[in-house]
Amino acid sequence: MKRIERVVILGANGAMGAGSGETFAAAGITTTFLARDRDKAERGRARAVSMAKSEAISRYIRTGGYEELPAAVAEADLVLEAVGEELPLKRQFFDLVERHRREDSIVATVSSGLSMAAMAAGRSESFRRHFLGIHLFNPPNVIVGTEVVPQKDTDPALTAFVIEFLERRLGRKVIETSDTPAFAGNRIGFKVLNEVAQLAAEHGVLYLDTLLGPHTGRAMAPLATIDFVGWDIHRAIVDNLHAHTNDEAHAAFALPGYMARLAEAGHLGNKTPERGGFFRQVPAAKGAAQEGGGQGLWVLDPARGEYRPAAELATEPPEIVRRMKALHRVGRYREALGLLLTTEGHDAELMRRVVLGYVSYGLGRVGEVVRAVRDVDRIMGFGFNWAPPGLLVDLCGARPVIEALERLRLPVPRCLVDHAERGQRLFTEPFVDAGRFFHG
């Protein structure tokens, strides 16, 4: 019987490494944090303690530099790689892991989108049978949605065991995805985010984040989300998808030119507060000195590559936004989404295009990236904290959604048509309050 009692984290000083390590240590599993040197690994331990808000998890964490990798890997049941998101670097580490691992140990990567097949290529049969992706979302101690990504040689029994372990022991909400670019969550999510970034060139940043804010079923507005994720990460994900997928969303994965230019100039979102991203917080004194006055929130003008105070740009939110938020505020979610489907005018049309485009693209991945609607719903709900596509369909009604997709000339996913014929509920995840996704 397989067991996971000893885990090694490679790259344990980074956000994903320390966060992943915390989830294992918090479950009482002995976890060795390895990094370039012991000091860095200790910083990872400190991050994990701070995430758990408890010194008590420290007893489950050992630390060391990579010189300790051979001994640590030799006794590990699971080696989780969380080094930089570059294939050659990851392959270097897998060389070392392969040399020192036990024949029955599991090797996994937290990669958010690189090809599992490319990582496994050229490895021994034992390695390939025991190798798969465990994609946790950042921060792993808060976001429980998890993708497990086997490659063609992964032992199916091992995949099933890992999923069971992650769910039962670590309390994760897991889906299995195919080894396709960016897997399920990021492919569906970043299609929406990049599409909104493209639209921002024409419609403006503030307008789009207002139009497609939390009332459309997400914890954070799309462009603010890209700033939060970081423009470099965003670029890596959409470039990968643009290069390696060719479906109806191909054009939506093209990074807008203004983003490419600004990213080159060091505008990477919240991680570069001086330069900012779509938004920039200007402290009082600097605002006065550098920008000709006006501290507080500044907003990017994509056409000019310049920032202007939000206060100067702010206008009344569109009527449909105001009405949807008022309905969400008192728990009338169905009625709010009814407005999304039925309201006329440019604002509603744009909102429909993006929100129903998400439903169409998300459900369209069933059969390609994941097996069932439940998988798409699970990862968008628990990984992105977005209203799952199936839930949006249930609240709007399958028939009206199909009709709206046809009007918008967006693909109508097969599973949606089947569902409409059966008349059952599409969203099946238990114990999820629909209302938690819709902000007033």
């Binding site: 009482g28 008590a56 007893r59 008192v330 114990f431």
Partner: protein, 410 residues
Amino acid sequence: MTPPPVYILGGYQTDFARNWSKEGKHIAALIREAVEGALEATGVEPREVEVGHVGNFAAELYAMQGHLGAFLVDVDPAFAGLPTGRHEAACASGSIALLAASAEIEAGRYDLALVVGVEQMKTVDAKLGGDYLGTAAWYEREAKGVEFPFPKLFGRLGDEYDRRYGLKDEHLAHISAVNYANAKKNPLAQTRNWYMSEEHACARGRYNATIGGRIKISDCSQVTDGSVAVLLASPRFAETYARRRGRTIESLPRILGWGHRTAPIEFDAKVAESRQSPYVLPHTRQAIVDAFRRAGIAEVWQLHGIETHDCFTTSEYMAIDHFGLTQPGESWKAVEEGVIELGGRLPINPSGGLIGAGHPVGATGVRQLLDAYKQVTGTAGEMQVPGARRFATLNIGGSGTTSCVFVVGN
């Protein structure tokens, strides 16, 4: 004359991990979600509901909103004209609403009652929230100008145990760890993804600071937004309801017994009054005895589990001997022997209780009854006590002031 039994048809609990202020929600949304959820879960038609009761502690303070009964009418057009009211007894508000609804059914006024417990607490910071909670004590004498008055009051409950019988903090830490562990099995618990261990609960320091006296953060229940609705029915409605679902009325759980007592509001007065009693809170003990008598229960071991009011670990410690699991002052024995754990002889708070599941003050009593319902109908999922047929709840308002007990079973 024996009153007719009151049946429980089921209900709905919102996810206690949510922060409804961050979601930009009015308390009306909390009420609506619970009611819509309860109607769907039970298959009851809105037009069948004859009366509505809301339990809530302090919406006027937390949400600047009173008159909560009126918000029920807003949920469905069929509720137009529905008689409603709101009930308040601090943390026991939910149970008081249940008592009022069940009394009306017993009296034959109505056949089907909707009971909602609700509290939205994350509208204010912890300190101000602590001050609001102070109004559940004698505010002017016990809470005004005191930072976090309730942890201090329940710390003194522990001190009183210590003085009379001796009390070790490790036993309190174990109670906390059990509740957090149970909460991990409860998909609606606020702390289901939080880290906790006995070692952490025993530690005092940066991540487990002292809040008042012997009470540390890990000894405390949570600040929670939440709403719970249940439907209570007369035998007449229950008969029809069971038949249309292809069941017998005997398969529906009912309230087998209840107890309701009120002690002096000031903590010092309670302690002074109980000096001659082996029980530190004799009125709480009496509420339990009353409920047992009405339910025809001779001793606690006829129960299969308890959902108790662990607003602090000391209150669960008190509940253990007051329910009769041990002799007065010997609660630690049940803690050490694992009696109260899932899998133990008499599990307490399989839901995680107020510490693990969360404590939206006015909703707690209703949540306890709904969890007891889930247990005796075998629908409690991972937190199920195998074979449970009889469950009790204890809901307390103030520093042991208002005590409400229900015994639920088939």
